[in-house]
């Protein structure tokens, strides 16, 4: 008996009890479908976050106050007050710093912004003109913050397109005013959209002169970060070290482990985010895998029932000369056909679900060929794994006992 015959025969057997076959397959469809949908969602999120971080500039180093390593006495990441404008000025002007092209001191905080009857909660970033170059911000209309604005501590603001949508009915509100912390700011520009969604939305942002934001809005003298643009992406590590030792000296710290700041490259951030979203994806896949496992157990259950029901048939086949291997192959083939069919349908349903999710929620989806191949392999493996016990049970039946069975 060759494999095409066995497959043909198994297909025949499976179509006899369509309801049962359908229900058994359904478990696998749900399992594989949710694995595909959730994994593609997870990977999509991961990829879009990476793309956004990448779009901020590959040459970017970010110096944040507080230490990289959390310790009992050190402030939390980004939460300290140890970075000052003087640090930024020193970095920009020092002859020791050879790897850095631009230095952008920044102060940012979320706050409430109102205009007329509307209000929104958004990120206010105090910047200097160099910010636009370092972060690759383009202005779609009007102007960006100028050096005069920073020196004159003027109350002007450049809005991200999302803020414009949230606060104004017209597309171009240049010349109008908004109120931030009960102070009036004149709008002088609107940035071009950078895309993004959720907590990574780079369009939901308001830029104002650094001095105005620090002193007039929040009364702070420190910086929340300094963005540095390295001369090339090949010297990032060198730049990281150079800046690190320079700042250690300036802060009169002898030991790098005592650093009151941390320097991250875009790659560091991508790695951190990737490991987070990777965990997230794995968690989703894990949940989906449980439903796949349940589906597999369903298959085993059905196969066990089938074996018991067909005891007589198995006995007859053995009496007529079927060897153990033939019986095992036959029942395994049935189980694999069930899971394989479920797998194929499940992949399609998973694709449809992730497609619909993308349409509805704007959540990105990334479908890798790998996850589809993996789903195929897994569905067949489940057939083997959960079909093995029933098939083996069938093959070990004694022909006499099986024939006697009523």
């Amino acid at each position: 008996m060759d494999y095409t015959e066995i497959i043909k025969e198994s297909l025949g057997t499976l179509t006899i009890n369509k309801m049962r076959t359908g229900l058994a397959i359904l478990g696998i469809i749900i399992g594989i479908g949710s694995v595909i949908a959730l994994v593609s969602l997870g990977q999509g999120t991961q990829q879009s976050i990476q793309n956004q971080i990448q779009s901020l500039g590959a040459n970017l180093l970010t110096v944040s106050p507080g230490a990289e390593r959390s310790g009992a006495v050190r402030g939390a990441f980004g939460g300290g007050t140890t970075l000052t404008s003087e640090d930024a000025n020193a970095l920009a002007s020092s002859a020791e710093i050879t790897t850095i092209k631009n230095v952008s001191p920044e102060f940012s905080r979320r706050t409430q912004v109102t205009t007329g009857g509307k209000n929104t909660n958004t990120q206010i970033v105090g910047v200097t003109p160099i910010y636009a170059e370092v972060h690759k911000i383009a202005v779609s209309s009007g102007n960006f913050i100028s050096q005069r604005d920073v020196e004159g501590m003027t109350k002007v603001a450049v809005l991200g397109p999302q803020v414009v949508t949230d606060l104004f009915s017209e597309a171009n509100p240049i010349g109008q005013t908004i109120r931030i912390n009960n102070q009036t700011f004149r709008i002088i520009g609107i940035t071009a959209s950078k895309g993004g969604s959720g907590f990574m939305n780079q369009d939901d942002i308001i830029f104002a002169p650094l001095s105005t934001v620090q002193k007039q809005l929040f009364g702070a003298s420190y910086l929340s970060s300094i963005a540095l643009e390295a001369k090339s992406s090949q010297i990032m590590t060198q730049a990281q070290n150079e800046v690190g030792y320079f700042l250690l000296n300036r802060h009169k710290l002898s030991d790098p482990t005592l650093a009151d700041f941390s320097i991250m490259s875009q790659q560091d951030i991508i790695n951190t985010v990737s490991s987070t979203t990777g965990t997230f994806t794995a968690l989703l896949a894990g949940i989906a895998a449980i439903s796949l496992l349940v589906g597999g157990i369903g298959i085993m259950n059905i196969m066990l029932v089938t074996v018991t029901e067909r005891t007589r048939e198995i006995g007859l086949r053995k009496a007529l000369g079927a060897k153990k291997k033939t019986i095992i192959t036959q029942f395994l083939t049935e189980a694999i056909l069930l899971t394989f069919t479920g797998g194929v349908i499940g992949i399609f349903i998973g694709l449809i679900i992730s497609f619909l999710l993308t349409k509805i929620t704007q959540f990105p989806m990334a479908l890798s060929l790998n996850s589809i191949i993996l789903a195929f392999v897994v569905s067949v493996a489940i057939g083997v794994l959960f079909g093995w016990y029933p098939a083996n049970k069938a093959s070990n039946m004694e022909p006499i006992e099986a024939l006697r069975y009523e």
């Binding site: 006899i16 048939e313 086949r317 009496a319 007529l320 000369g321 060897k323 004694e398 024939l403």
Partner: protein, 240 residues
């Protein structure tokens, strides 16, 4: 010229053991069956005839004794080797027909050939030949459950013949069949025997057993009569 016997049973015993009880189903049974014989094995229920049938059919192994089937010693064989012996040397006809349900008569008859490695392209032709022989050429595509009991048993007989086995082993072949159709079945057996097939038939019905030329009578796991004598007795009874 002495032809070697197709079945040699030497001191066959079968003892079933449970934890406490030993049941002797077959005690030291010896006999020979030659090629071309038509033997009926008779006996009341519990006499060991089913056990003997299982041993002769290589469905089970004896506790002791030697069984030689068509020159092959059926001893110390693995399950798969026994399956192979059954496939090549024994044609089974069961009381309950045991056809595959929802499967055509033709496919049922082709089944042993699939296990026996007969080339696919030859199987249909062989199956059709034997279905024709049992008079079912117009029922070949019918599913087994669309056939009458007698027709199903004829399909089973066709199935038992396709591998050209050394013996036909029939277990109560007419037990589930109305008497008119039972006669048809027995006529087929008789014709097969005349064509030279060796047939061993288990039955408890005397009027079925009398179609055989030799009757082995079992009681309490032992042979109490073997040969023509018992046959004469029951024929006599039938007439008287």
């Amino acid at each position: 010229m002495k032809e070697h016997p197709i079945i040699q049973a030497n001191h066959l015993s079968k003892i079933y053991k449970t934890d406490l009880v030993e049941t002797v189903a077959l005690a030291d049974v010896s006999f020979e069956i030659k090629k071309g014989e038509f033997v009926a094995i008779m006996g009341p229920s519990g006499s060991g005839k089913s056990t003997l049938m299982h041993l002769l059919g290589a469905l089970d192994k004896p506790t002791s004794g030697i069984y030689i089937l068509d020159g092959e010693n059926v001893e110390n064989l693995t399950d798969d080797e026994l399956a192979d012996i059954r496939n090549r040397k024994i044609g089974f006809v069961f009381q309950a027909y045991n056809l595959l349900p929802r499967t055509s008569a033709l496919k049922n008859v082709m089944l042993p050939m699939a296990y026996g490695g007969i080339p696919k392209e030859n199987r249909e032709e062989i199956a059709k030949k034997f279905l024709k022989m049992v008079g079912l050429e117009d029922r070949m595509s019918h599913n087994s459950n669309q056939l009458s009991g007698g027709q199903q048993q004829r399909v089973a007989i066709a199935r038992s013949l396709v591998m050209n086995p050394a013996i036909l082993l029939a277990d109560e072949p007419t037990g589930n069949i109305a008497s008119a159709q039972a006669e048809e079945i027995m006529a087929i057996f008789q014709r097969l025997n005349e064509e030279g097939h060796t047939i061993i038939m288990i039955t408890h019905e005397p009027d079925i057993a009398q179609h055989a030329k030799r009757i082995i009578l079992l009681r309490d796991g032992k042979i109490v009569e073997d040969g023509n004598g018992y046959r004469q007795k029951i024929i006599g009874k039938g007439e008287g």
